[in-house]
Symmetry: C2
Subunit: 334 residues, 2 copies
DNA sequence: TTGTAAGCGTTATCAG
DNA sequence: CTGATAACGCTTACAA
C-alpha cells in the first residue's frame, strides 16, 4: 500500500535530468539553469520527494543530531535544561537524542558509546563522575560539552552554574539571621556541583566565624534516594538540634520539609530551611521555601550554543568553562 | 590527531579476510569458522572498531530510533511519560529523538516531517489537534502511536488515561461533599484529553442532579498560558460564587491556588479545589491538594511497547486504544 | 565456510 | 551548466 519512497533517482528520471543536477538544486551549491531547476522542483512536488537524511548523513559524515545524556529527566532542573537545549538546537536545525543515565555509570557508558556509534555531531552530558578515561578518549573523537557538572580531570568544555556562590548566599542568609548551628544534607558522590555547594556552605560558615562541624553534615557517598529521609532524621536527632538546614538539592528539600513536619517541628521557628535549586511550587507550600534558583533554561541554551560553536571551530579553541549566576530567593522558610 | 575511524574494510584487511566475513561475525547471521572469527575479533579489539550505525541504517532501512513529539517536557506528566518511554526503549535497544512542539501546530508539522526524513522506525506523539491530513498520510508510511491524546478522525493506535472517568471521580467527590456550584477551568482547544475531562465533569454533575452551567465553565479556545490567572478570576467573580473548582490540569491547579489565596479566600472552606494530574508537591502545599493521579511512567512504557509490537506486526493488526486507569487522591483541599 | 560484487540514497569530482 | 561515476560503510545475494 505505502508506495516506495521516491529517491533522487526517481526525481532525476521524472525531471529528465541527472541525479547530480537534482542534488545541485537540493543543496544549492552549484549553478543550475532555470529550466532544469523548474523541472526538478516540479518533479519533487509531484512525487512528494524528501531527501534521505540518513543517506546524506553517511555521505557527509554529518547528522545534525546532538546526543544528550542526563541523570533524570523528571528532575525539573534537567527538564528545563533540556527544554532550553532543544529549543536552541531546533532553531539551528539540529535534533536531540535524549538518554537518561539514572546516575548509573554503566548506563552512561553504553549511552555515550551508542551516541558515538550513531555518529551524532556532538554530545552534551552531565557526567556521573565515572568513566573518565573512556570519556577522555571519546572527547578526542567527538565534541563534548559537560553540563551542570564536570569531571575536573578532564580538560574540556562545560556549562555550569555558580554552585559555590549560590550555596554561599543561601547559608549566609542563615548566619545573618543569627543561626549558628546550620546542618547540611546532600550527596557527596564526587560530583563537582555538589562538592562546590558543600564548599560554599563551609565558606559561609567560616566567614561568620563558625567552624564547619562534620556532625552537622549529613552526606552519603552513594546515590541512594531511599535513604534520604533517614539522612535528614539523623540531622534532626543531633543535640543540640540544628536550628537551620541547608539542602543541596530540591529533592532533599522536599524530604527535609516532610521530615521536619513529621518530627512535630515548625519551619522556620524550630528549624529554618533553605534549599538549593528552586521549584515553582516552593512559592505555594506552607511556609513558602527560600531557595537558590538556577538559570536552567539558559544553561541548556548556552550548552548547545557552545557545542555548535565547537562544530565550527573544529575544536581548536581552548576549553571553556561557562559559569552562570544563581539567584537567592528569600521566602518564608528562612 | 584523532585518527580516522576504522571501517569494516580495515578490519577485513587486519584480519586477513573479506568484509563479508567481518560482517558475518558482526551480525552473527551466518556461520564463520572459529579461526576466522578469532582473527576478526582480535582485529576489532585492536583497532577499537565500532560499526557505523548510520551506514547500517542506510543499508537496512532500520535506525533503532524512535521519534517523540510532545508539547512540554517541563510538564511533570510528560517528563514522566518520557522517562518511561526512554527506559523501555533503551531496554529494547532503541533510542529516542525528543522534540517539543510547545502546542504549536507548525512546529509539530516540521518535527514530524523531520523525524520521517531521518527515517526513525516509528513515532510517538501527543497531537496538537491540527495537521490531521498530513498525519494521516504520514501514518500510512511509518508506524505512529498517539500518546495522552488522540485525533478522533484518525484511525490509529493510542495510549491514553481514563480522562473521563478520572474527572468524573474528582467532581463526584465534590458533589458528595455537598457542593452544588462547581466551577471548571481549562482549555477547550479540541484535544481529546481535555474534552473528555470536561465530559466527566458534566456527567458527574448530571448524576447529582445538577445542570451543567456554562457560566461556571471558564474555558479558552486558544492555548495562552498568560491568560490562566484571569480565567480563574472570572470564575471567582461569579455571583453566587462557586463553592468548589475543578481544574483540568495541574498548571491550572497551581494558578487557581494562587488566585484563590489572593482573593483572600480559604481552601477548602470558601472554595474547595480538586485538580486533574497530580504532582508530588501537592502533598506538601497548604492545604494539601486533592488530585487525580495519572500513571505517567506506565503510559510512556506502554506506548513504546505498542510501537515496537507494530514494528513486528508490520501494522496489520487493527488499531488499538489503550486506556490506563487514573486514581483519585483525596487530601485536604476537598 | 568464504569472497566478490551489487546496492542503500546521497554528494562530489571530473570531464564534457 | 550538465552528466557519468566514484565514494560513504555496511549487508547480502550469488558464486566458489
Amino acid at each position: 500500500m505505502a508506495k516506495k519512497k521516491a529517491t533522487i533517482q526517481d526525481i532525476a528520471r521524472a525531471a529528465g535530468t541527472s541525479v547530480s543536477t537534482v542534488s545541485r538544486v537540493l543543496t544549492g551549491n552549484a549553478p543550475v539553469s532555470d529550466a532544469k531547476r523548474a523541472a526538478v522542483e516540479r518533479a519533487i512536488a509531484q512525487l512528494g520527494y524528501r531527501p534521505s537524511l540518513i543517506a546524506r548523513g553517511l555521505k557527509m559524515s554529518k547528522t545534525f543530531t546532538i546526543g544528550v545524556v542526563i541523570n533524570d529527566i523528571t528532575n525539573p532542573f534537567y527538564s528545563m535544561v533540556v527544554k532550553g537545549a532543544e529549543s536552541e538546537a531546533k532553531a539551528c536545525g539540529y535534533s536531540l537524542i535524549l538518554c537518561v543515565s539514572n546516575e548509573n555509570p554503566e548506563t552512561e557508558l553504553h549511552q555515550l558509546q551508542m551516541l558515538h556509534d550513531k555518529q551524532v555531531d556532538g554530545i552534551i552530558f552531565g557526567p556521573t563522575g565515572h568513566n573518565t578515561e573512556f570519556i577522555r578518549s571519546l572527547a578526542a573523537r567527538i565534541p563534548m560539552i559537560q553540563v551542570d557538572r564536570y569531571l575536573p580531570d578532564l580538560q574540556s568544555d562545560a556549562v555550569v552554574v555558580d554552585n559555590e556562590g549560590g550555596a554561599y548566599q543561601a547559608v549566609k542568609l542563615l548566619t545573618q539571621r543569627g543561626h549558628r548551628r546550620i546542618g547540611l544534607v546532600g550527596w557527596q558522590i564526587g560530583i563537582t556541583s555538589e562538592d562546590q555547594r558543600i564548599a560554599g556552605y563551609c565558606r559561609a560558615l567560616e566567614d561568620a566565624g563558625i567552624p564547619c562541624d562534620p556532625h552537622l553534615m549529613s552526606t552519603s557517598p552513594a546515590f541512594a534516594p531511599e535513604t534520604m529521609p533517614a539522612m535528614v532524621e539523623t540531622l534532626l536527632a543531633r543535640r543540640p538540634r540544628p536550628t537551620a538546614i541547608f539542602t543541596i538539592n530540591n529533592q532533599f528539600g522536599i524530604v527535609a520539609m516532610q521530615a521536619i513536619r513529621q518530627a512535630g517541628l515548625n519551619i522556620p521557628d524550630d528549624v529554618a530551611l533553605v534549599v538549593f535549586d528552586d521549584l515553582a511550587v516552593f512559592a505555594l507550600t506552607s511556609p513558602a521555601i527560600s531557595a537558590v534558583a538556577q538559570p536552567a533554561y539558559e544553561v541548556g541554551q548556552r550548552t548547545v550554543q557552545l557545542l555548535l560553536s565547537r562544530l565550527k571551530d573544529d575544536g581548536e579553541a581552548p576549553p571553556q568553562l561557562i559559569v552562570l549566576p544563581t539567584e537567592l530567593i528569600v521566602r518564608e522558610s528562612a
